[in-house]
Symmetry: none
Subunit: 195 residues, 4 copies
DNA sequence: TATGAATGAGCCTTCATTCAT
DNA sequence: GATGAATGAAGGCTCATTCAT
């Protein structure tokens, strides 16, 4: 429990520090200070500075996907699932501005994150979205002529860009207010006419 | 003209080097070697390492926007303009893999690029897309109930994610093959029923 | 007695660890692990890391000198004493490879060991050798024209180099096999002709 | 020529700094200051701190062996060669106190020097000594019953210990004054009776 | 203009030592 | 006494930038 505490304490501190300065412009000592520990302590819980970022991303993404999966499950049909997914995506970011900053801006950088270690967690989210769309196609609600992997990227890309613009624009409006519009455009785009 | 030569030579070298190693893992001396000049020479044309990236992005984006604007203009109607825009977006990236890598992966990083100096060039592209959508709404082809700035981000986000996935997946397929599907989903999403 | 146990336990662990990695490349925590105690425990028995090395050297040297002195005493004459001394020197090292490694390689380093704290124990060995040679001169067996302190260093240096080469050569042969040859060369060198 | 200058400048500075503080207690910045260059400059000429020590040792040893080999060659017979070798050995150290300190004290430390990279230069010296002794045996001047490799180590060990004691004793006397005594003891030890 | 050797500030990481339990 | 998590000073090395040529 002690260990878990410090580990989490450092992760949360890192989120705030990376959100403020970016990964490459943050010093390990900044994270230590923010976490209220000595810099050497960081190395009792993480192998390197990179390890902090990778672990941060993995844990946050895993929690994210688990959370979304759970909430989606209770929705009755694919259309409702998509609307709920968009709403949750935006809501999650809106609830944690520092995490939003890190996820939308810092984690996009460099070879080492999207590729490599964190790839698995990202694709879990893509697979979750994909499974909803597939179910919709199977149920005859979504058109069969749009490849699922394309539709998945279109939806994720739309949400992601909404989020990025919102973060870069200093979060001056409520992101969730746009959830319906995004879901609607996407659903019109993939739904069978008259369905 | 000599100046212009070296300037361009350095920019192109930087694109290749950043594509290979990422911005933060590239040395100024790497760019110099790739450009075939001494590292001191870099500083005759650029103020700092950052300046190379910012300038690179500005120039590439300006050319991109000008190119797209020009080609879009000749299309007869908003729907055709959107289809053309998606095709051009993908085509441009496909023609220059190193640039694609830099634009899709490296430029996403950090505070300093999306915000700050390069913001103007990015928003020019958003405005170009927005103007097409606005014209479509004015012509009664696109629904008026979807805010243009939302639809703009949805379209850009969709294209961008297609591109990013393609780059991260090592460009194993033809990106342009997906242009129609992306355009179709988007257009169905925003077009007035029966139009 | 408990204290004495842990003390000795740590010293012996240190010998093995230093033999393996060298003094500067050994962590206090390595010694602790090897000794089966927590690293904090080390500091209940030794003031600093240096103190471990110095103490180790002192105790080993003191035991060495006492052991040699005792065995030498029973030999009837200076020549026999020298032969016995060389044999014992080699035998002691051969019986404890880890100690041999530490004594021949690690303890040679740096200002702090030969000079300073351990100097006294080293000179006790030199004095023991010197006393044998002096007795030989007094008995008219060894030549008076070679200064005792020179002959002492010659003998010690010869034995020491034999030992060092043997250690550096990974102890592939029996060191004691060379004892007679070394003793013989030295004795011929210092013995009065016809004696 | 410039390069060669800086390289040598740094080596000589390192000799002085290592002689003063020992290798592990010397900072790279100390060497830089002593050499009158910036610390980054060190890394233009040497890969790591270790590389400085290894290079230093190699170059000094190579010069040493070449020097001794040359001077030995002109001596008419094995006995004269041995006397000259001892004199040169002591003379070389006496002429360069900082180098003597480094060679006798600092270079003995740790696994990485005697073994590994510098081993070749050391064995060149042993082979030089061995060749003189072999020639003496072949000429019937030195006894055949003492193995050359043992006699080599005895002679080297004797000289080395004389040198070490002299260095550790702060060089309060003239080392070369002891050259004859050492050579004499050794020569008596290995020479055929009556020769 | 062009060069590239030199600079030196900056930072990640290690590890001897401490101290609350 | 014993523990081992926590500390934080210290230092090797990198690399953007400068400047004498």
């Amino acid at each position: 429990m002690r260990e878990s505490d410090k580990h989490q304490q450092i992760i949360e501190a890192a989120v705030r520090v990376f959100a403020r300065n970016g990964y490459y412009n943050s010093r390990v000592s900044d994270i230590a200070r923010e976490a209220g520990v000595a810099s050497g302590t960081i190395y009792l819980y993480f192998k390197t500075k990179d390890d902090i970022l990778v672990t941060l991303f993995r844990e946050k993404m895993a929690a994210w996907v688990a959370h979304v999966r759970e909430r989606i499950a209770v929705e009755p049909d694919p259309v409702a699932k998509v609307r709920r997914l968009v709403a949750l995506h935006f809501d999650t970011l809106e609830r944690d501005p520092a995490l939003a900053e890190v996820v939308q801006v810092e984690l996009r950088q460099g070879h080492k994150f999207f590729r490599g270690a964190s790839a698995h967690e990202v694709s879990a989210y893509f697979e979750l979205i994909g499974s909803v769309l597939e179910a919709g196609q199977a149920a005859g609600v979504f058109r069969g002529d749009v490849p699922v992997n394309v539709a998945t990227k279109v939806l994720f890309g739309a949400m992601d860009q909404m989020a990025t613009s919102w973060v870069l624009g200093k979060r001056k409006y409520r992101l969730t207010d746009a959830a319906d519009a995004v879901a609607t455009v996407f659903l019109r785009g993939v739904t069978v006419d008259g369905a």
